[in-house]
């Protein structure tokens, strides 16, 4: 009970695990942006070397990253196929109606494929080495500038962190309700799609009711511990920006410059 792992976090003590979550978040965003600078094999090679060394540093087996590609595989194949078959120009060495294949289109397809792979690998690296809680903290910290426009940053961060830790509780609750309904003869996962969808209703309604009850209990517990909104609250859990985090940021600037020089 309650041992469910949320997200895909794999505990570890590698350099990547120890980086500040804010640093990892920003770095991932930068990477996703600069991937689009790459337009020849040199730039893609540079990016690939960069990502592979990051994967190596995380001490997480490559198979976890390949698993990250799996849910996206159809999207990738579809996009790559479109790119290959519909890219005009070059000397087509195969043609059938509007479809054609040329050296240029194959090259383009390959690049698109690499782009997908790199983005998936780097975002998997973020989710695998960062706990959901650290992510919530990082989101809170990164959104902080929005306070100027009166966006309730602290509330959102607290909501995120509470929501995350209530996932296991709600999943326990769901199991309990499902068992209770099974005991009354509800058959899950049997019959037509329509019947299966109908079978979900007797789970959803009690689940909603119990979520509201939990929320009510929690709000009373929070109030009696003096919670009056996020104004004037100090913070116990603190993120620490280390030298290594600045170094990673510097590395990304260098990578960007390299890409700009190498791209054609």
């Amino acid at each position: 009970m309650g041992k469910m792992i949320i997200g895909r976090y794999l505990p570890g003590k590698s350099l990547i695990h120890q980086l500040d979550p804010r640093c990892k978040f920003i770095a991932t965003f930068i990477f996703v942006a600069i991937v689009f600078l790459a337009n020849n094999w040199q730039t893609y090679l540079a990016l690939t070397i960069f990502v592979l060394s990051a994967v190596l540093l995380s001490q997480v087996s490559l198979s976890f990253f390949i698993k990250g590609v799996r849910p996206m595989i159809f999207l990738i194949i579809f996009t790559v196929a479109l790119q290959m078959l519909f890219t005009p120009g070059g000397h087509p060495f195969w043609q059938w109606g509007i479809f054609s294949l040329s050296a240029l289109s194959i090259r383009n397809g390959l690049f698109i494929f690499m782009r997908f792979l790199l983005i998936i690998f780097i975002s998997t690296l973020l989710t695998i080495t960062t706990t959901p809680l650290q992510m919530a903290d990082a989101v809170g910290a990164i959104l902080k500038p929005l306070k100027i426009v009166h966006f309730p940053v602290e509330e959102v961060a607290l909501m995120l962190s509470i929501a995350l830790q209530f996932i296991p509780l709600l999943s326990d609750e769901t199991t309990k309700i499902m068992n209770a309904q099974r005991a009354r003869g509800v058959d899950f996962g049997d019959g037509s799609i329509l019947r299966q969808i109908k079978a979900i209703i007797p789970i959803l309604i009690p689940l909603f009711v119990s979520s509201f009850n939990i929320a009510y209990d929690l709000s009373i517990a929070m109030e009696s511990r003096g919670y009056q909104g996020s104004e004037n609250r100090s913070k116990y859990r603190q993120l620490k920006w280390h030298f290594q985090d600045s170094l990673v940021m510097l590395l990304f600037i260098v990578l960007t410059i390299i890409l700009i020089i190498l791209r054609s």
């Binding site: 929070m222 109030e223 919670y227 116990y236 603190q238």
Partner: protein, 278 residues
């Protein structure tokens, strides 16, 4: 000694209810006492706790906590003096780790981080949970969860702790642990304990027992007085202890005992004597 909690003619009716949950309650609690509040479901026990800390507003009457009258202005000040440990340990965690959760109340007081770190360490040490400070509360056992909840409450250094059926979801070992810790805190830190409960092992700890029945105080008595009348225990929502139940059955079966026994050993001795006479 001035009472730490005093209720005067306090009445409360829930919306949509045609009968008041609490009707003209008068109650005083002396500092550093352990008061048990018992009664059947719906007798108004939990409502009483929610009134004292201002979660529910009383319709009429006055509530005074540590010399301060409960009003809208004094509400947050009074909540600082009262810690509540709720029934379901899973429904009261805000922090993602044990130490985060203990710090939650301190964060609300805008305490500087340096002081918070000390307080959290102290509070966790009091309940012997320091080793678990980085664990997620969900991974703990019921008794450990309630210990963390106690730490979260005592970190705020309250004068009063209200236990709202806090041990009812625990196994006997967990319950014994929690009561031991609460007893220790009451004695060492001079905290007043208000325990709302059905459980006899929790009532036994009390200096004073308040019996609620349909929104009014039926009786205020000591533990000894309560147990002296085992026939009434069930009517108050309590299950008499084994010794009392046995004596009651013996009495109904026509076995005359020379006196009433509170302890198993005393009763056993008498039963041996009875047997040897037969």
């Amino acid at each position: 000694m001035n009472p730490i909690i005093s209720l005067k003619d306090v009445t409360f009716t829930y919306d949509n209810a045609n009968k008041s949950a609490l009707n003209k309650i008068n109650l005083t609690v002396k500092p550093q006492q352990w008061v048990a509040i018992v009664g059947l479901n719906g007798s108004g026990k939990s409502t009483l706790a929610k009134l004292i800390n201002g979660i529910l507003p009383a319709d009429s009457g006055t509530i005074t906590v540590a010399g301060e009258k409960l009003t809208e202005q004094s509400l947050w000040n009074i909540r600082r003096k009262i810690g509540i440990i709720f029934q379901n340990p899973d429904h009261q965690f805000v922090g993602a780790t044990v130490e985060d959760d203990v710090a939650f109340g301190l964060e609300n007081q805008n305490m500087p981080r340096k002081q918070m770190v000390q307080r959290v360490a102290w509070a966790l040490d009091q309940v012997q949970m320091s080793a678990f400070k980085n664990k997620a509360p969900q991974t703990l056992s019921g008794g450990q969860k309630q210990r963390v909840a106690i730490a979260g409450v005592i970190a705020l250094q309250p004068q009063i702790i209200i236990m709202d059926e806090s041990t009812s979801m625990l196994d006997p070992n967990g319950r014994r642990d929690i009561l031991k810790i609460i007893r220790k805190l009451q004695q060492q830190l001079g905290i007043t304990i208000l325990s709302i409960t059905h459980d006899l092992s929790e009532i036994v700890e009390a200096d004073q027992v308040v019996i609620l029945k349909r929104g009014i105080i039926e009786k205020t008595a000591t533990v000894a007085e309560i147990f002296a009348d085992p026939t009434r225990l069930t009517a108050w929502g309590l299950r008499p202890p084994f010794t009392q139940r046995l004596q009651l059955s013996l009495l109904q079966a026509g076995v005359l005992l020379t006196k009433k026994y509170q302890t198993k050993q005393g009763l056993a001795d008498e039963l041996w004597q009875l047997r040897s006479k037969m």
